[in-house]
């Protein structure tokens, strides 16, 4: 069963409700989705919750998947939508929070990762700066840049995931990259 394609596995799960097929798909996609959602949201705990919710949505709404689409684009669409909702919720929470402290605004990675001086040199800090810069890019551009340049998806796949025309996807990627480049200039010229 592990040799089956994603589409075959989801068909098997849809037709026969085989839990194995579901497990294999979860194993295949949990890490790519974690990476995508983490780069998009910037919080490991929230990212885990979002991916869990994605898998539960997949479990509950397996029949809403149509065979003409790729499974990967379908599951990325679910994860992307949930991640966007999470971002909106967080933004609202920040606006309405009584003590508007900076702790809430900054990504949790700062609190969780202690940067040792020796590690700082070998790129851990750099990765953190890149992540912070990514979070500063507009949401609409960030999503497509992550999908293209971090997740290595094709323009067609990104177009399917986001529901945008390929031209729009390309221009958004370009704008996102330009924004990111401005923010990261000092890093990759070192």
């Amino acid at each position: 069963m592990t040799e089956l394609s994603d589409e075959d596995l989801i068909k098997e799960y849809q037709d026969n409700n085989t839990p194995e097929a579901y497990d294999i798909l979860v194993k295949r996609y949990k890490d790519p989705l974690m990476n995508f959602v983490y780069r998009f949201v910037g919080d490991r705990d929230i990212c885990t919750d979002v991916v869990q919710d994605t898998m539960i949505k997949f479990y509950l709404n397996k029949d809403s998947y149509r065979s003409f689409a790729k499974f990967s684009t379908w599951i990325y669409t679910i994860a992307g939508n949930l991640a966007k909702n999470e971002l909106k919720r967080r933004r609202r929470r920040i606006i309405f929070s009584i003590d508007n402290s900076d702790d809430e605004r900054s990504p949790q990675i700062e609190d969780k990762m202690f940067i040792a001086p020796d590690k700082a040199a070998d790129g851990t800090i750099r990765n953190e700066i890149i992540q912070k810069a990514l979070l500063k890019v507009k949401t609409v551009y960030r999503e497509v840049v992550i999908l293209r340049d971090i997740q290595d998806l094709s323009y067609e796949e990104i177009s399917e995931i986001t529901g945008l025309a390929i031209g729009t996807v390309k221009s958004r990627i370009n704008r996102g990259r330009a924004q990111l480049q401005k923010l990261l200039k000092h890093i990759y010229r070192e």
């Binding site: 974690m34 990476n35 869990q52 539960i56 990261l184």
Partner: protein
């Protein structure tokens, strides 16, 4: 088009390299276990309940209902001031008067046949002719009709006001120096023959009664 985007990719090549070098984030070890536990426990709800958002539609819909209810209330339940509508009251008064006149004309005819003093009673107490609730019958309540333009019917019949010069009578258009007195919105209607005949009969009966009363007075003297 492809070339343009390839060129763009070359432009960002350094940055793209940096992005590709980013470490891949992996799911925690207990991810699958937690997921299966949630599925087994049917714990599909979200960890945090969403705050109810302020919604303009939710706010405007009930307020629109309330406003429309208030408007409908004012349309279908007019205020007491509107009940004092002059036209309505006037038509009501006219209806009452005509009804009373009908009954009194028959009464008068009977009274003329039976006894004369009752007609004097009618003369001295004109409120008998009108209903007790009529505005005209009540003392102190002024009729909306401009007084200076009206005449006393009894004097007119007996010819007592022949020499009286009522200059204001019929003077509807004034010279504009004085503000004209508002005398209500009177709908001008052409009197129909039946009501005219009825009024004539009433006037005739009063005349006859008066003549009889005069003759009786002369006889008594």
């Amino acid at each position: 088009m492809k070339k343009i985007y390839n060129n763009e990719e070359n432009k960002f090549s350094e940055m793209l390299k940096v992005l590709k070098e980013l470490p891949k984030i992996k799911a925690p070890d207990n991810f699958e276990y937690n997921l299966l536990t949630r599925i087994q426990n049917k714990n599909f709800g979200k960890t945090e309940k969403e705050r109810p958002q302020f919604n303009w539609v939710k706010f405007l819909a009930p307020s629109a209902v309330v406003i429309s209810a208030i408007i409908l209330f004012f349309i279908f339940f007019p205020s007491s001031q509107e009940n004092n509508n002059q036209i309505l009251q006037r038509t009501k008064l006219q209806d009452k008067q005509s009804a009373v006149n009908n009954s009194t004309s028959t009464k008068n005819e009977l009274n003329n046949q039976q006894s004369v003093p009752s007609s004097t009673n009618l003369q001295s107490n004109p409120s008998v002719l009108l209903g007790s609730n009529d505005r005209a019958a009540r003392p102190g309540v002024r009729s909306r009709i401009y007084d200076s333009r009206s005449i006393k019917l009894d004097d007119y019949i007996s010819g007592a006001n022949k020499n009286q010069s009522n200059t204001n009578r019929g003077n509807i258009v004034n010279n504009g120096e004085e503000p004209s007195q508002y005398d209500g919105l009177i709908v001008s209607e052409k009197p129909d023959k039946k009501t005219l005949e009825r009024y004539h009969a009433v006037v005739d009966s009063i005349k006859k009664a008066q003549l009889k009363a005069d003759s009786l007075k002369k006889v008594q003297k």
